[in-house]
Amino acid sequence: MDFTLSEEQQMLQDTVARLVRGEYSFEKRLEFSETELGFSEDFWKQLGELGLTAVPFDEELGGFGGGGVEIQSVMTELGRGLCLEPFMQSVILGGGILSQAGNKDQQDKYLPGVASGELKVAVGLQEPQSYYNLNEVETKAEKSGEGYTLNGRKAVVIGGHCADLIIVSARTSGDVRDADGISLFAVDPSAEGVERRTYPTIDGAKGCDVFLNNVKVDADALLGEEGKAAEVIEYQTGRAIAALCAEAIGCMEEANELTLEYLKQRKQFGVPIGKFQVLQHRMVDMMSELEQARSMAILAASFADAEQSDERRRTLAAAKNVINRAGQFISEKGIQSHGGIGMTWEYSFAHYAKRLVMISHQLGDEDFHLERYASLLEAS
């Protein structure tokens, strides 16, 4: 048992940390957020040049087959910088789906670009009424000639506004909430019938809803076996959940550090407010929740690339549940400890709070994962 990072893992994390510190000050982050792209093209390029977008891929793609722990190292530091680039969406989720479900041709076609960062992938799995159930797919893919015709709408596709490729789930058979009958398709956003309603997100990024109106795709747009995508989706979103957990840890560490700093420096009634026992104990609670979250992020990372099993399912559900709760707790209590200043746009704390709370809206909130865990509960 060893909870320390290997030398390589530590180097990787340090590399990202240095890059973020150098390129991603809070002020710059605000600027990136306000561009049309919603993130820094330049930073994205650097992630590619430094081989970071290739981390989870094989050597031939410039990576080193990095697993959960390596992803954790990268994501934690991106979280610390509140980085807006679509690393999780494109590299982990997009790249993961392509690696698992794509055939040789599809992998050859897409993966080099994903690994180098030149091809940005977005993934649309949710729908307007699906809430967090990714098996709830109303979007239809009907066989037409050699290919398929897609009709439907995918909701809240983060990074979809600028993606070069959008992977969507669509139903080729079965009823609306059946696991069976879901398929994945690689869609060119510029294809006829694809419309995007783009919006900023409340945590500073950009995303869109994707409308598919009689979109024709070729047979080779199908990723993996027809109707059997539910498994791929579950597995890959599991990896993405581990990545979100790591990102959240970066955010929480920064958030707690800001709050602690504020408690020491802010004076009221003639003393630093950190002298008030209620604020002290609250700070301890926030640190304690972070400890719990950190443990679960580590556990999630260790399961991210493991074979699918109920234990993996349970662990990832548990991890997301803990991270969502800790994130909200640290955000709310942190704002409260700061007072008004914690709510202002020009102070970074508020942006960590927003990101943390929004992480709980990605891939399942506290209740969703609690129910999921309960449904997998083992007898005594």
Partner: protein, 398 residues
């Protein structure tokens, strides 16, 4: 013991309802019910209607335009107005500076300021908090130095709500540095158009411009703008804080927000069924509704006690804490109810004029922003921690 309204109170409620049904503009009500953005013009339009009815400054003495509402009548008005979508009164003029002027001001001040509050000529804001003086209000540093017939004011105020609309500000300023912190404070009325005043917006985490910083650089304020005695401002401020706290629990608004939440939860689906019928989510709603029911009775008990001649004491501090927690819990659930759609920030849909298609639900857009914005509820008006300190001292003697 009698939990029911008297016949007179019921008659009054009917009168209130009839008035709201007839006079409350539909667009304003729709904004309030949907928790959309309210403009300065909206507030002014509604104020005018209320003034005509004689209900705008209901708690003022009759000679200045008030009516003799009992606490219960006032409560009925608050409840009904919230339920019908009447916008919350901007309190700084009518509910905050006015009571201080009425109680501590000169006859000239009353004659001059009160009518201008009623007719909307003066829009007031509050100059209490400073960057270094938040919870510890008495440590404020803004200086007012007397020079014959005027004060020279220098300093900075912050968290000035709706200061961007205001042309008048009431300020706590330090007029004496030789005495204990609370003893050297005065209460000044200042025209915002006086040279030397600068207002700078503070943007909150939800992108809103609601609060401001106000800077004073050698601002000349005539001595007749002093309320009461010099150096006695702390007394007036405390009087005002007590006045303010009573409404801060926001029971009426929470009821409206809960009803709004239930509407949302009856339309948003989980596994094909409305969230309102989902076992977990419906229990979350039930729990907050139960807590609100209890808080609402607690509120009535305080009102009845005041009606019986009591003074709202530390109970109102406890209620402020509980009430704001409940409101925040409702906001939290509304954010959860919209699921992944909490993420998009679709500003255009927050305006009532929006005529396009809604991304998800017509009421979804403001929910996440409101959740974040309303973190303020437990901070302002004396943070919840300060309220607990007050209770601890006042009731518990700790």
């Amino acid at each position: 013991m009698n939990m029911n309204y008297t016949a007179e109170e019921l008659a009054f409620r009917d009168e209130v309802r009839a008035f709201l049904e007839e006079k409350l503009p539909a667009d304003i009500a729709a904004k309030a019910k949907g928790f959309r953005k309210m403009t300065k013009e909206d507030h002014q339009r509604w104020q005018k209607i209320l003034v005509e009815q004689g209900w705008y400054a209901s708690h003022w003495p009759e000679e200045y335009g008030g009516v003799k509402w009992t606490p219960v009548q006032k409560h009925i008005w608050d409840e009904e107005s919230s339920a019908y979508g009447g916008p919350r009164t901007v309190p700084f003029g009518v509910n905050m500076v006015a009571p201080v002027i009425i109680k501590f001001g000169t006859e000239e001040q009353k004659q001059y300021y009160l009518p201008k509050i009623l007719n909307g000529e003066h829009w007031w804001c509050q100059g209490y908090s400073e960057p270094g003086a938040g919870s510890d209000l008495a440590s404020l540093k803004t200086r007012a130095v007397r020079e014959v017939d005027h004060y020279i004011v220098n300093g900075q105020k912050t968290w000035t709500t709706l200061g961007q609309h205001a042309n008048m500000i009431f300020c706590l300023v330090r007029t004496n540095t030789e005495v204990k912190a609370q003893e050297g404070i005065s209460f000044l009325l200042i025209d915002m158009n006086t040279p030397g005043i600068t207002v700078r917006p503070i943007i909150t985490l939800d992108g809103e411009h609601e609060v401001n910083e106000v800077f004073f650089e050698d601002v000349k304020v005539p001595v007749e703008n002093l309320v009461g005695e010099e150096d006695k401002g702390w007394t007036y401020a405390k009087y005002l804080l007590t006045y303010e706290r009573t409404g801060l629990a926001g029971i009426g608004i929470s009821k409206a927000a809960l009803s709004h939440l239930k509407g949302l939860a009856s339309r948003r689906l989980k596994n094909g069924k409305p969230l309102l019928q989902d076992p977990s989510f419906s229990q979350r709603i039930a729990q907050v509704e139960i807590d609100l029911m209890a808080a609402s009775i607690s509120n009535l008990r305080i009102i009845a006690a005041v009606e019986g001649g009591g003074v709202p004491g530390a109970e109102s501090s406890m209620l402020k804490v509980k009430g704001t927690e409940i409101r925040q819990a409702i906001n939290d659930l509304a954010r959860r109810a919209i699921g992944p759609y909490a993420i998009p920030f679709v500003e255009e849909e927050m305006s009532l004029d929006y005529e396009g298609e809604f991304l998800s639900d017509e009421n979804a857009a403001p929910m996440a922003a409101q959740y974040f914005n309303n973190r303020k509820l437990s901070i302002f008006g004396g943070s919840n921690e300060i309220q607990k300190n007050i209770v601890s001292k006042m009731i518990l003697g700790l």
